[in-house]
């Protein structure tokens, strides 16, 4: 870590070239590799319990018996916008509201937790693609996938959970059942197929709107 921030998000440096990289933008911002973008690997933020149920063979980073608490506990709950404050005030949502955000070169869209908690499976359009957003409010797990598969566009609805508590959804076209956070069909005609995942991440609204001032916003207004 460089010890520097851009609009409250960390700035990394690499050992090889000493380029500075904006974490939020996944891009070099100063130095030999300025302008270069980093490939974002889709990841999931969830509870340990949920992740283990999704992937029983998973390994976990050894905490060495330490790190039993979250150092940002109080910050999540207070009203402050990082340590630098907001760069661009956007009143469409309260500043510390959590959103699931997706951004490509074609646009940015935020899905507020409060709005997607009700519906859990949302068929939407983003950057010209048909997408499905999935969200489990109990474990605060969310993901976004392409709905197009083998030339057809699927439409999804919630399908409860399996015996391990893993959220499921069903497509209306074939009635296949899918795991909502791996995007894999587990029963029905499309068993084994996997939806293409778009990289998304959670953010406080103030930070998302700072980095993406023209962001689209789902479910508000």
């Amino acid at each position: 870590m460089s010890g520097k921030l851009i609009m409250n998000a960390v700035v990394l440096y690499d050992h090889q070239t000493d380029t500075l990289w904006s974490q939020f933008l996944s891009r070099g911002v100063r130095g030999p590799l300025s302008g270069t973008s980093l490939e974002i690997i889709p990841s999931v933020q969830t509870t340990w319990e949920q992740w283990l149920q999704l992937h029983p063979t998973t390994l976990v980073l050894d905490k060495g018996g330490r790190y039993q608490s979250d150092t940002y506990e109080r910050y999540y709950r207070d009203g402050s916008a990082g340590i630098l404050g907001e760069a661009n005030k956007d009143n469409r949502l309260p500043r510390k509201e959590l959103v699931l955000g997706v951004a490509t070169d074609g646009g940015a869209k935020a899905y507020p937790f409060s709005a997607i908690s009700q519906q859990r499976v949302i068929n939407d359009r983003f950057d010209g693609d048909e997408v499905v957003v999935t969200f489990d409010p109990d474990s605060e797990t969310g993901a976004i996938f392409q709905r197009a598969l083998d030339g057809q566009s699927l439409t999804f609805q919630p399908a409860g959970t399996n015996e391990l508590g893993i959220m499921l959804m069903e497509d209306q076209q074939t009635g296949s059942t899918w795991q909502a956070f791996t995007g894999q069909a587990v029963s029905g005609p499309l068993t084994g197929k996997v939806l293409e995942r778009l990289p998304s991440h959670y953010s406080f609204w103030f930070a998302w709107s700072d980095f993406h001032p023209d962001t689209a916003l789902w479910g508000v207004g």
Binding site: S43, Y67, D70
Partner: protein, 124 residues
């Protein structure tokens, strides 16, 4: 300098330091003094060809130490140190699955790892 002047100066400095730490507006003013403006060429979601960014220095390089050689354990080995409800970032690459606890990431901010043969940086 009289002793009284000395006390007044010391007290004023003390108040300024406390203000810089605890009063957001003062802290932000101070941090913005140590700022560097850069311009990045990029296709961004807003459609702008370049982006103006302000880089603020808050801490020294590596004041928050990256993890360069992460060690992993199985779920069974982790039972004593992982609570079911604690949050993780989970990554799956080429059939290999790994979880990075946020309690740890909050204190190191970045883990350099290789998952499924792919070098990755997990950041928080």
């Amino acid at each position: 300098m009289t002793r009284k002047m000395g006390y007044i100066i010391a007290l004023s400095l003390g108040v300024l330091v406390l203000a810089a730490i605890f009063v957001p507006q003062v802290r932000q003013f101070w941090l913005n003094l140590r700022a560097e403006d850069v311009q990045v060429q990029l296709p961004l979601a807003t459609g702008e060809p370049t982006l103006d960014l302000r880089i603020i220095t808050v801490l020294g390089k590596d004041a928050i130490p990256a993890i360069l050689d992460p060690q992993f354990i199985s779920a069974a080995e982790a039972v004593s140190q992982m609570k079911p409800s604690e949050r993780v970032i989970g990554v799956s690459i080429n059939g290999e699955h790994r979880a990075y606890p946020l309690n740890l990431l909050g204190r190191h901010e970045i883990v350099n790892d290789t998952v499924g043969g792919k070098p990755v940086a997990v950041t928080w």
